[in-house]
Symmetry: C2
Subunit: 154 residues, 2 copies
């Protein structure tokens, strides 16, 4: 705190921001969870896994999934297990490296996800309806930069 005319930041504003951010995402998440249950009889974690796989028709490793979704390995195992037993996803043992398996959407899973994704986008448009599109873009821009500082240390 010697030199800079740093804008005397108490940090209180960041704390307030965090509380708002958390409340916003929890509120929206709760609403999405409820609608996914009601409309499609599925859950948000299953939707998230399917969304990731939908973007990668070639498939993803379990570890790709967990790092992309920011959840633990063991977590993904359980969710994929359930998706497999529902016929929405397959685990294909690979010849190259027998520790890994490629997870892919089945045809049924692809169809099911496409329907959910359309509804989902509509819901988000509705739930964030009060945020103007230009506001949305500027918020998105600010959120892009928030990490870099501390993430990926150690």
């Amino acid at each position: 705190m010697v030199a800079g005319p740093l804008p005397a930041s108490s940090g209180k504003d960041r704390l307030r921001l965090w509380i708002r951010l958390l409340r916003a995402s929890r509120t929206i998440e709760a609403e999405l969870r409820e609608r996914l249950k009601k409309e499609f009889d599925t859950t948000l974690p299953r939707f998230d896994v399917m969304a990731a796989l939908y973007r990668s028709p070639e498939g993803m490793l379990m570890s790709d999934l967990s790092s992309f979704l920011l959840v633990s390995n063991g977590n993904v195992t359980g969710i994929v297990d359930r998706l497999v037993s529902e016929g929405l996803v397959t685990r294909a043992r690979r010849n190259g490296d027998r520790r890994t398996s490629m997870v892919r959407l089945t045809e049924e899973g692809t169809k099911a996800f496409a329907a959910m994704a359309a509804a989902h986008e509509g819901w988000i448009g509705e739930l964030l309806g009060n945020v103007r599109e230009d506001e949305a873009r500027s918020l998105t821009g600010m959120l892009k930069s928030f990490r870099s500082n501390w993430e990926g240390r150690e």
Copy 2:
């Protein structure tokens, strides 16, 4: 929904915003959870409950807690159970209405929370360090308005 010249919004920007929002809050939440575990041997849900109680020295009903924290009633029951068994919180049966009980921080709980809150504020300052304070204020303002539209219908 008959008349309006609704501002032909594709919704794509809002979807992008939602994805950013979710990733930001999950990343921060994960980091907070880990630090609360390491530094204070506690969990985020317990911290949240204690934070709510800290703001209300007179105590809160179970239902106050669950609506404030945006989680289900049954959820709060379990968390408060654990906090009680750790001596951080008390459930006081009320004379007026014997269905309800006032939940309060114990003296030990108050002291413990004060220490955690100080660390927590510092962590948030660090984790959101890349967001300028003026940005933080403007983001907070935008997030304030996002609901109202759909929340509290039905």
